[in-house]
Symmetry: C2
Subunit: 455 residues, 2 copies
């Protein structure tokens, strides 16, 4: 902790963060790390949960546009679009008969609905998605499938691919086997009674069945009960609804560079959150980091002035249910050239690695990034940067260069998509390290005169 503080102070000195040197900003007195903290604090406290397509998400857009203006951003705009939303109803599950007891459950996004009174059916335990896939088609008629799995924490979050498929693909597999409904072990690494929600990827034309996730302790319970060999029966109530053409929108704002005719650097996060928590790590922190760093980088030009290029901030809407905001941004802004794109959407733990998709011709820029991030404890990685859901569409459309500042994900899936995603889970020191890493990065890429080639 102490050594991190020392490093941050050193970085702040190098980057000339002294407030007196940011005279053009309305809140010039607040150093960048405090801007970030205040932003995520107020968004999560005063708006709270902001599910995609909901009135709360609309309040978040109004709040964000007002705050960005207050912070000195220009060309601030709300860019509306419509999307398919999921509105939670009653979520309830209880074993009946043997080991009768309630289970902590959440509906998954785009779940089908049970009747108000729920359904009662045998629960069939599958230790993995592969085990369910191996079941004969039609063998689950009139039954509820339970899919277990063995997700464990990883620093780079790579467990979310394979184990996340239990949630994304598992419900569709259950439909193929004829199941009445499906329950999964939460895609998460904690041991709290807070189930993890998240979206289902139904194939086109599939009629959704009720689909929920129980917390890890409840899944442990089901695993132990299945091992007794006694038949299990579940009473399940999930009454949420799928809503077409729900109103959503993106919020954009700019800090114009010395040469506004040059393509801007795009930095993104998403403004919506799942409804269970207040969206602190997913992704209030991301919005706080990109906005705080964009402001912090305003002294990165020659003589502590503005950078060469405009930095455009995108607070995307409706990321959680399928990246609608990123798609809408690419549709609206696809004809404007961009210099580079970045996204922050993996919590608020420290940046530990930097990767890019730069072509060899940009090796020198990459080397400067690596050198600038080294004092913050960031190492270069071998992978290929891809941005993320909010910038993926514009990156693909324009083959943009990308820098990924990978955050430590060891604890991310303890909180991800749960009621526990709240402000207290953010460590102000690691949030400040993120802002410093982003600011160091923006100081380089927003002052780069020539285009950076992507590979």
């Amino acid at each position: 902790m102490r050594s991190l503080t020392v490093r941050l102070s050193a970085a702040a000195a190098v980057l000339s963060l002294a407030p007196a040197m940011v005279p053009t900003l309305a809140h010039a007195a607040a150093p960048a790390p405090d801007v970030a903290w205040d932003l995520v604090r107020d968004l999560t406290t005063q708006v709270g949960p902001r599910p995609a397509g909901s009135p709360a998400e609309a309040r978040a857009r109004e709040w964000a546009a007002a705050r960005l203006k207050q912070l000195g951003f220009q060309n601030v705009a709300i860019e509306p679009f419509t999307m398919r939303a999921y509105r939670r109803g009653i979520d309830k599950a209880e074993l009946v008969g043997f080991a009768a007891q309630p289970l902590a459950i959440t509906a998954l996004g785009y779940s089908g609905a049970t009747p108000e009174a729920g359904i009662t059916a045998p629960l069939v335990y599958f230790p993995s998605l592969a085990a369910l896939e191996a079941a004969p088609d039609g063998s689950l008629a009139g039954k509820i499938a339970f899919i277990d799995h063995a997700m464990a924490p990883t620093q780079d979050g790579s467990g979310y691919g394979p184990y996340g498929n239990v949630r994304r693909q598992g419900p569709g597999v259950a439909v193929a086997k004829g199941a009445l409904a499906v329950v999964i072990r939460s895609v998460g690494t904690d041991k709290h009674r807070n189930p993890h929600t998240g979206v289902i990827s139904w194939a086109n034309g599939v009629k959704p069945i009720p689909a929920g996730a129980v917390s890890n302790p409840d899944a442990d319970q089901l695993e132990r009960l299945a091992a007794t060999g006694q038949p299990l029966k579940l009473h399940l109530t999930l009454t949420g609804q799928i809503i077409d053409n729900a109103p959503s929108g993106n919020v954009v704002g700019e800090l114009p560079g010395r040469d506004p005719s040059l393509p801007p650097v795009l930095v993104a996060c998403h403004l919506d959150s799942w409804d269970l928590g207040t969206g602190a790590i997913d992704d209030g922190a991301g919005c706080a980091i990109v906005a705080g760093a964009a402001l912090g980088a305003q002294t990165s030009g020659p003589d502590g002035g503005k950078p060469l290029r405009t930095i455009r901030v995108l607070f995307a809407g409706s990321e959680e249910v399928g990246g609608f905001g990123g798609e809408a941004y690419a549709q609206k802004h696809g004809k404007e050239p961009h210099a580079l794109a970045m996204e922050s959407d993996f919590g608020a733990d420290r940046v530990w690695r930097v990767i890019t998709n730069f072509a060899p011709s940009a090796d020198a820029v990459k080397a400067r990034l690596v050198a600038a991030l080294n004092p913050l404890g960031v190492v270069p990685g071998d992978g290929t940067a891809n941005g993320g859901e909010d910038v993926g569409a514009i990156i693909a459309a324009q083959k943009l260069p990308v820098v990924d500042l990978n955050q430590d994900g060891t604890h991310y899936f303890d909180l991800h998509h749960t009621p526990d995603d709240t402000l207290d889970k953010i460590d102000p020191a690691t949030l400040a390290q993120n802002v410093a890493a982003w600011q160091s990065t923006l100081a380089i890429v927003a002052n780069e005169p020539g285009p950076i080639a992507a590979r």
Copy 2:
């Protein structure tokens, strides 16, 4: 961890735990630590939550009586009584207007009920119980009081006295000030969205008002929102009911000593749990520890035989809502002499301290206890042992000697009375240390021929 294992092995050797030496027990092959783990695993898994006065508590009694018989206990009996129960209804709270958002809430035991549609009223923030006490009588008419506090973890659990009063006494103070309802910060030390329930001590004649507890992150949210100065308004729905003359009961069982005419040693726990979790640390672990240790002590007599005195196990009912089981035990068994009483009801973390209420004439016995517990990392303390809720009445009636084996409570109030009180929170290694400490203690007190005087 490793050194603990070494110590336990040493203790086991000293206490002659070798299974072959327990020939009279049905499950002689299972060493005592496994008996304890299996007991808490199966109680929390197969019975699950077992609130006082509920059908689930009745199932727990049947389960416990059958398991005790299976383990070789004799004179196993269910001793019924009736009590005042609280049956949870719908628990729901949401801010409306400014910062509209749901809050994670639980009703407190013996809360008054709102109408099914809930109530909506201004929420008035009080930073402490003392601040509420200082409000003028009648000043909260038509309003909901929120009582904050600053509980922090302590090893000996001493925060539960003063901060627990916010829950026990706070609702009554709110009534005196004319409040329509009351919400408190959970009496707990964690940062999860799992509110802590627990019982209210209404004074005689007071008409209960709706009373709930929000989780710590929600209380943090209310604290921040109150600091904005904006008026807050809460929509509160708590529909649980108070049920008079609900059926409950104790379960008792004995392991007869070499001289069954001598007064028995009483070891107790409680079988009921709050409904939110599965009652693993509160108090499935306690029942597992006392039963496991009683069995383990069956080789503590001369030549590895039975101890001198009978050990009687009491699995009390209805502790959580006011110690009804302990009272019922004292009424039924108050005329039978007892040698000594002990209770385990503070989780499953390691025993760190031993205290007694022995008179100076029993200093030698106490010294032997201290010496026996020393290899397990247990230190002698200066306080006076008092047993607890399940043995308090019989101790008071008979002025019994008591040994308290204090468990480390640093993390206890992270889980206490929450949905998170589940099996995964028990470390088998510390559970085994508890069993070893109890077994060492019983090996001494159940082989003591003369009475031990209490001070």
